[in-house]
């Protein structure tokens, strides 16, 4: 509005002359196209880096919990069975998966399993390495959590994480030093969070271990 209108009626006050609807649509269409174009351009430009980051994230996590495997297979859960090659029609992104790691000599190290459950503040999600035949743990890494900084967030740090190298499932969270192979010492002041980690692993193990064993036996459970 111009200064001349500062106190009077602004131009659009009289019933404004109707803007033809084709102009409205055209404007919006143009804006939409422009937006779409811009977004797609930036998307294409950033996609490689973003994908790389994500892949790296998964990779490093799997590497960490499986003790530096030489290679690994991604197994998909389809129709209650683990398979390396899901049927053609299935959308891979919709399927649950685990990562089965091998040594350089192609013997199975174990499987990296992701799982999550509510902790003290919100869902804790983690990945852990499981030796499927004996049911011992290889390692654990917290992927996402909202636990209290300074308390619950100790679950993603050593020494807590290092306690998952070797214990047998099902785990038992204890407050003092472990006395059996199944014992896992929880964090004082964050008992809830550390217990949640224990529970997540136990629940996930009881679900995935039979599936993995079946896969390794090459049949259905």
């Amino acid at each position: 509005m111009s200064a001349g209108h500062a106190h009077g009626a602004p131009p659009e006050m009289e019933p404004a002359p109707a803007v033809p609807s084709w102009r409205l649509l055209a404007t919006l269409g143009f804006a939409g196209a422009l937006a779409g174009g811009l977004i797609v351009t930036v998307y294409s430009a950033t996609l490689p880096r973003i994908e790389a980051h994500r892949a790296e994230l998964v990779e490093s996590a799997v590497r960490e919990v499986l003790k530096a495997p030489a290679r690994w297979d991604t197994l998909y859960l389809e129709g209650g069975v683990l398979t390396k090659t899901p049927s053609a029609g299935a959308d891979r992104r919709q399927l649950e998966r685990v990562f089965l790691g091998y040594t350089a000599s192609d013997s199975v190290i174990g499987a990296a399993v992701t799982a999550g459950e509510p902790g003290f503040s919100d869902v804790i999600s983690l990945i852990f390495g499981l030796e499927p035949t004996r049911g011992t743990l290889l390692g654990m890494k917290v992927l996402a959590h909202k636990e209290t900084p300074g308390l619950g967030d100790k679950i993603e740090k050593t020494p807590f994480t290092s306690r998952f190298d070797g214990p047998a499932t099902p785990l038992r969270g204890v407050k003092s030093a472990p006395s059996t192979p199944n014992d896992l010492q929880t964090i004082t002041g964050a008992t809830i969070s550390s217990r949640t980690v224990v529970n997540i692993i136990n629940n996930a193990t009881s679900r995935w271990q039979p599936l993995l064993q079946a896969y390794l036996r090459g049949g259905t459970p």
């Binding site: 930036v42 950033t46 996402a144």
Partner: protein
């Protein structure tokens, strides 16, 4: 109030202090409180917001002649959403850790009232130059508050600033500061101080001592 009015430094300053989007206009509170538990997050959020603000103010003010009145809000929203999407992707590509920390709040810039507010109240009526200054000022004001809040919260809550330990290992962190109540509390204290200051200055203006 139009192109005849030349761009002045005041266009910038106004947003920084006198019409500060957060502490004066009380807009954009959600991101302000949600991301200020560390300076890094606060800064990233401020930058992303500034980017969207500048971009949308620029586009809105340069396209204002072409956008029919009836669809202007819709167009603004489209423009803003575009810049937000871009900011979101750029952040994820550049600093994935921070992007993860900010969670959905980058996307939420779309509904940050500050941006639509500036687009509608200023950019849609002013010259490109003034709109840019206005956007810069508003962004600076927003950044100022975010950095101030996040500095207080991070320092007290962890003893560190930008992750650098400042208060020494024996400092007992005030965990509350990085928790939700601490967010409300910190901004609350800022508002109390501002309120107290305002009361004192009006008290003086009236020739009375501060009671």
């Amino acid at each position: 109030m139009s192109d005849q009015v030349p761009a002045t430094f005041d266009d910038f300053l106004r947003g920084v202090w006198r019409e500060n989007p957060v502490v004066v206009q009380m807009l954009g509170l959600c991101p302000t409180l949600a991301v200020t538990n560390s300076v890094a997050n606060g800064l990233a959020m401020a930058m992303a917001t500034a980017f969207v603000l500048l971009g949308s103010n620029l586009l809105v003010s340069s396209l204002k002649k072409w956008i029919p009145h009836e669809v202007r809000i819709t167009s603004y929203v489209l423009i803003i959403a575009t810049f937000v999407t871009i900011a979101d992707m750029l952040l994820e590509a550049a600093v994935p850790v921070v992007h993860k920390q900010l969670g959905p709040f980058v996307a939420l810039i779309v509904v940050n009232c500050i941006i639509l507010g500036r687009a509608e109240a200023f950019a849609s009526r002013q010259s490109v130059k003034r709109s840019l200054l206005d956007a810069l000022g508003t962004a600076a004001g927003f950044t100022l508050v975010l950095v101030l809040l996040s500095a207080v919260r991070e320092l007290l809550g962890t003893g560190a600033l930008l992750g650098i330990d400042l208060l020494g290992p024996r400092f007992e962190p005030w965990v509350i500061m990085v928790l939700p109540p601490g967010g409300f509390l910190t901004l609350g204290v800022v508002m109390l101080v501002l309120g107290w200051h305002a009361k004192r200055s009006t008290g003086r203006a009236n020739g009375e001592g501060a009671a």
